[in-house]
């Protein structure tokens, strides 16, 4: 899609190309530098950090900061490292992802194929709600969760993730199901299939791609969440992001920059793996999810 050039062969080294690749390389450096610095810092000992510069590669590679970040770094009274936060995040992310997608896919299906009177009205509220800042709804949700007795627990937080994931996921599924050929649906109706049968036997098998997009969106979004983790859970259930922030920004004690950077990488690892594994689908997922909230 560059400019049409007729049959003239392109020269590899030209002023234009040097500018083009030069700019791209400079930009790539800006994006890569923080990752590089994180890795390098996490492999150094504290004396080396105090003396050297942050861009220098480690003279003596040590994995001790990683071990410490994972197993013994302290937040408040707890000194069991990020491992606790990691497992909390797993226990939050897995059920949240499954429940929110299960509910939203059925919602989207109902909206696309079985519209009832008023359905679009509720859906509009849902979509407009996605743009309301979380801060406006947080306190009422605290009250609701407290009343049903799950405030401060993992289940409470899981419910919150399902609620706030619903608008965008429902939209995603509704649009996808609406784009499938109507004839399929009609044929199944004529054959006597009902609401759930059509969903399970026809819609689900055809919608693997959109499920993958939704899973990527939810895993990265929920894993990276901070605000809900702080508001809706107690310290023993804090997700990894909250625990990481507490470890790094704790006021007391000597700052161990190498441990901090190892901890930071560990926290970023899960979404990064999802990103590298899922490739192009990731872009679709996040492009949809960026609208969330």
């Amino acid at each position: 899609m560059s400019e049409p050039q007729g049959a003239r062969p392109r020269r590899v080294i030209s002023g234009r190309n040097i500018m083009l690749y030069g700019t791209l390389f400079v930009a790539a450096t800006y994006y890569l530098l923080p990752l590089y610095v994180m890795i390098v810092t996490s492999l150094k000992g504290m004396p080396e950090i105090r003396l050297g510069n942050i861009f220098a590669p480690p003279l003596e590679i040590t994995f001790e900061p990683w071990v410490k970040a994972w197993a013994t770094a302290c937040t408040g009274l707890n000194c069991d490292g990020l491992s606790r936060g990691f497992w909390n995040s797993v226990r939050i992310t897995v059920p949240s992802t499954i429940f929110s997608i299960a509910v939203a896919s059925v919602n989207g299906y109902a909206l696309a194929n079985w519209r009832f009177k008023g359905a679009d009205f509720f859906f509009s509220i849902l979509i407009v709600g996605a743009f309301i800042p979380y801060q406006v709804m947080i306190y009422p949700i605290v009250i609701v969760l407290r009343d049903i007795g799950i405030y401060g627990t993992l289940s409470g937080l899981i419910l919150v993730h399902c609620i706030f994931g619903m608008p965008i996921l429902t939209l995603l599924f509704r649009n996808y199901f609406a784009s499938l050929p109507v004839e399929l649906f009609k044929a199944a109706r004529i054959d006597g299939a009902g609401f759930w049968q059509i969903f399970l036997r026809i819609m689900l098998p055809m919608s693997l791609p959109i499920f993958v997009v939704a899973i990527i969106l939810q895993i990265t979004g929920i894993w990276n969440d901070f605000l809900f983790g702080v508001v809706f859970t107690r310290p023993e259930y804090y997700p990894m992001t909250v625990q990481l922030n507490n470890i790094v920004n704790s006021v007391q004690g000597v700052k161990e920059y190498n441990v901090n950077m190892a901890a930071t990488i560990l926290t970023g690892l899960v979404p990064l793996v999802v990103y590298f594994v899922s490739g192009r689908l990731f872009v679709r997922g996040i492009a949809a999810g960026a609208v969330k909230g």
Binding site: N107, S179, T267
Partner: protein, 301 residues
């Protein structure tokens, strides 16, 4: 698709019953949480709730107090500066990168992967990395000084007047990759013939971009604007991780003000008033766009 159930069933409520049952979670979320919760917060923002919410109305008192609080005013100023600059820079950087990527370059996938990976990371991770890079004792400032330029000063996170730009640098690092991807998709959607026609007419490339391509990409720009704008209003984690609102109150933002008053200072009325102000901002800026973009047509996103 909606007509199939219309044929002469007597009971309106039972019609499409499965669909209605399946929609209960959505209806509850929409009505109780989104609608009810918002109204609740707005109503209680007119009360003098402190530790617990209670319905003793004091009119606009909380709002007067809010706008008289230096911390809130600083938050709003920060949000304005952060918002304007991040809109401009995200769009410009994102578009330029996308235009460069669109030149049939080699290693396109590698470059795209590099530009986008920060977006996979949370704001907490982003904030902590940039806190480290901008640390004056060890970070960029100290490295440049050790190269011999001893008077070099670059410590935005420790200088109240420019701290918000330090936050901005990190935010752009995290978010421009996504903007680039959206813009690139938009550019790829433009017909090759447009380029050929412009070429034939002898229109320089930059003019083609500015006067033909960008106007054609209007829907992409609107989508991107909505995404960036809704991100701006809720900026919270990044500030918490990078500066904790400091030095002093220099990098406070509205979302943090709300959280601190609701859950730390136990001054609920202030928290509700501040969050209602956030709601008003969003309503004015985003909802009309959002409706046009996402509510109107199907098959978007």
């Amino acid at each position: 698709m909606t007509g199939h159930a219309k044929a002469g069933r007597p009971n309106q409520v039972l019609r499409n019953l499965n669909s209605k049952i399946a929609s209960i979670p959505m209806i509850l979320t929409a009505v109780v949480i989104f609608f009810g919760g918002t109204i609740w917060t707005v109503v209680y923002s007119f009360t003098n709730s402190k530790l617990l919410p209670r319905l003793s109305f004091v009119g606009l008192d909380q709002y007067y107090r809010l706008w008289a609080a230096p911390r809130w005013v600083v938050s709003i100023e920060n949000l304005a500066v952060y918002g304007i600059f991040s809109l401009i820079f995200s769009l410009v950087i994102g578009f330029v990168l996308a235009a460069l990527m669109d030149q049939k370059i080699r290693f396109e996938n590698t470059f795209r992967t590099i530009f986008l990976y920060p977006f996979a990371l949370s704001f907490i991770v982003t904030g902590l990395v940039w806190q480290w890079l901008l640390n004056p004792e060890f970070g960029i400032q100290s490295v440049v000084r050790s190269l011999g330029w001893t008077s070099f000063t670059f410590d935005p996170l420790y200088t109240p007047s420019i701290v918000i730009y330090g936050v901005l640098i990190a935010a752009l690092w995290q978010g421009t990759g996504l903007v680039m991807c959206l813009m690139l998709a938009g550019l790829r959607g433009i017909d090759e013939d447009i380029w050929k026609a412009a070429r034939v007419d002898g229109i320089p490339m930059w003019k083609t971009y500015l006067f033909i391509v960008i106007p054609m990409m209007r829907p992409v720009f609107i989508t991107t604007l909505v995404i960036i704008a809704s991100g701006i209003v809720k900026v919270y984690d990044l500030v918490v991780a990078q500066t904790s609102g400091g030095p002093g109150i220099a990098s406070e933002v509205p979302a943090k003000y709300v959280y601190d008053y609701m859950f730390q200072a136990q001054n609920l009325g202030q928290g509700f008033a501040a969050s209602t102000m956030m709601l008003v901002t969003v309503a004015i800026v985003i909802i009309p766009w959002a409706y046009l973009e996402f509510g109107g047509g199907r098959n978007r996103v």
